[in-house]
């Protein structure tokens, strides 16, 4: 990528793994561009590859009355970054359902900017992070509402589950609003597995690792429910389940 190498002062790179990024920076392709034409309804399912470092920069433009839904699973073993820059036209919709799942020393981040440029667009972002070992999982999400974008309806729901003392979660929703008739909701929480739930599951016969994996599946439940294609839905759910089993 020809852009200058970022620094920590760049909000979008605040939690990045700079060593991993440096190694691939020059080879990074220009951001992928996705245009959703007016009235179109598009879903994409992004599965992780086997690469230790995976960086994905995507710009999405959603035209009037169009809808874009992205399902993303971020599980790279060293560094996984999904960066999205979304612009929304009048009456358009954008939804992101994403999970960071990692252990070891991995750094996983989902960085989004959603620009509501015109009236009556909606955006929904649901991000779940499950982090074991010394992993770091972050969500940095900016919602920018332009002066003309009245009746904007935006929501960010961010939850993280930490399995070990060394794991870290960062949740940073950010709002920049220049219109006055808008609804921008955001919620963030960081927690750990509930010992009462674990004991209940174990008392029914599940061994501790199976009990943890099941509770974690429950934690991310619902993320993939809206994937329209059944084979794709099962594939992303199964990939997420295997990632959870590894760290549970």
């Amino acid at each position: 990528m020809s852009a200058p190498f970022p620094t920590r002062k760049d909000e979008a790179y605040r939690y990045a793994d700079f060593d991993a990024l440096k190694a691939i920076w020059d080879a990074l392709p220009a951001p992928e561009r996705i245009l959703i034409a007016a009235q179109q309804n598009v879903q994409q399912v992004w599965l992780p590859s086997a690469d230790e470092v995976q960086v994905r920069n995507v710009e999405v433009a959603v035209e009037p009355h169009a809808s874009c839904t992205i399902f993303a699973l971020n599980t790279a073993s060293t560094y996984g970054r999904i960066a999205l820059d979304v612009t929304l036209a009048e009456n358009s919709n954008f939804a992101l359902h994403a999970a960071n799942i990692g252990g070891g020393d991995s750094t996983l981040e989902i960085v989004t900017t959603v620009r509501h440029l015109a009236p009556a667009a909606t955006s929904r972002q649901t991000v779940r992070s499950v982090l074991g070992g010394k992993a770091t999982g972050s969500y940095v999400g900016k919602v920018a509402v332009a002066r003309d974008a009245q009746r904007t309806d935006s929501e960010q729901s961010v939850k993280a589950m930490l399995l070990d003392r060394g794991a870290t979660a960062n949740c940073k929703p950010e709002l920049e609003i220049f219109a006055d008739d808008v609804k921008c909701a955001h919620g963030a929480s960081v927690g750990e597995l509930d010992p009462a739930q674990l004991f209940y599951a174990e008392s029914r016969g599940l061994d501790p690792a199976a009990a943890r994996a099941l509770l974690l599946e429950g934690f991310i439940a619902g993320l993939w429910d809206d994937v329209a294609d059944e084979a794709q839905r099962e594939q992303i759910a199964a990939t997420a389940r295997s990632a959870l089993r590894v760290i549970a």
Binding site: A201, E202, S203, G205, D207, L214
Partner: protein
Amino acid sequence: MLQIENLHATVADKPILNGLTLNVPAGEIHAIMGPNGAGKSTLAYVLGGRPGYEVTQGSVAFDGRDLLAMVPHERAAAGLFLGFQYPVEIPGVSSLQFVREALNTQRRARGEPDLSGADFIKLARAQATELGMDPDMLKRPVNVGFSGGEKKRAEMVQMGIIQPRLAILDETDSGLDIDALRIVAAGINRIMRAPDKAVLLITHYQRLLDHVKPDRVHVLSRGKIVRSGGPELAHELEREGYVEAAA
């Protein structure tokens, strides 16, 4: 089947059980009654192996095996079922998935093959129907949004699917109206009344014992059994209260 010998246990370093001795033979249902704070739930949790419930002295044998040496899921695989006073909610995990994984993990631990999906669904639906629960409720997340009574029924559905050899039922009657109490009691009798099974019923009230006839009734007070008797003891307790009966 269950032999508890001079059991002492603490919770957060506070002694709760103080030399409890109890023997429940196969084929019998025993009731443990006692006032609040006597140690009833602590006994249930100690038998289930809940972390934080520390055994400081004594022994518990289940079919001659040292129960206290096993971790909770090994106790379950050995045939122990703990019915919770407050069944736990698990969001995002359906009851069907939860119980199926639990049952199949137990079966594997005993060297038995997994139950197929179709056979499991059939079994689960049958048990739910027996307990007057809409089988579709099993598709919902474990206990989430259930009323107190529904949770207790759901516990009995799980017990019916798992078919344990020894059930420790901690206040399974609390939160039930009269009709639900009858159904749950019929479930306990149907699932657990057998020559090779046993039940320890922990309860405050005699009313459950009108429907599930105990072979023995024990009074627990300050962490030990202070009286034992036949089913008539429950009536005496109901009439005279724990203070009189334990004196």
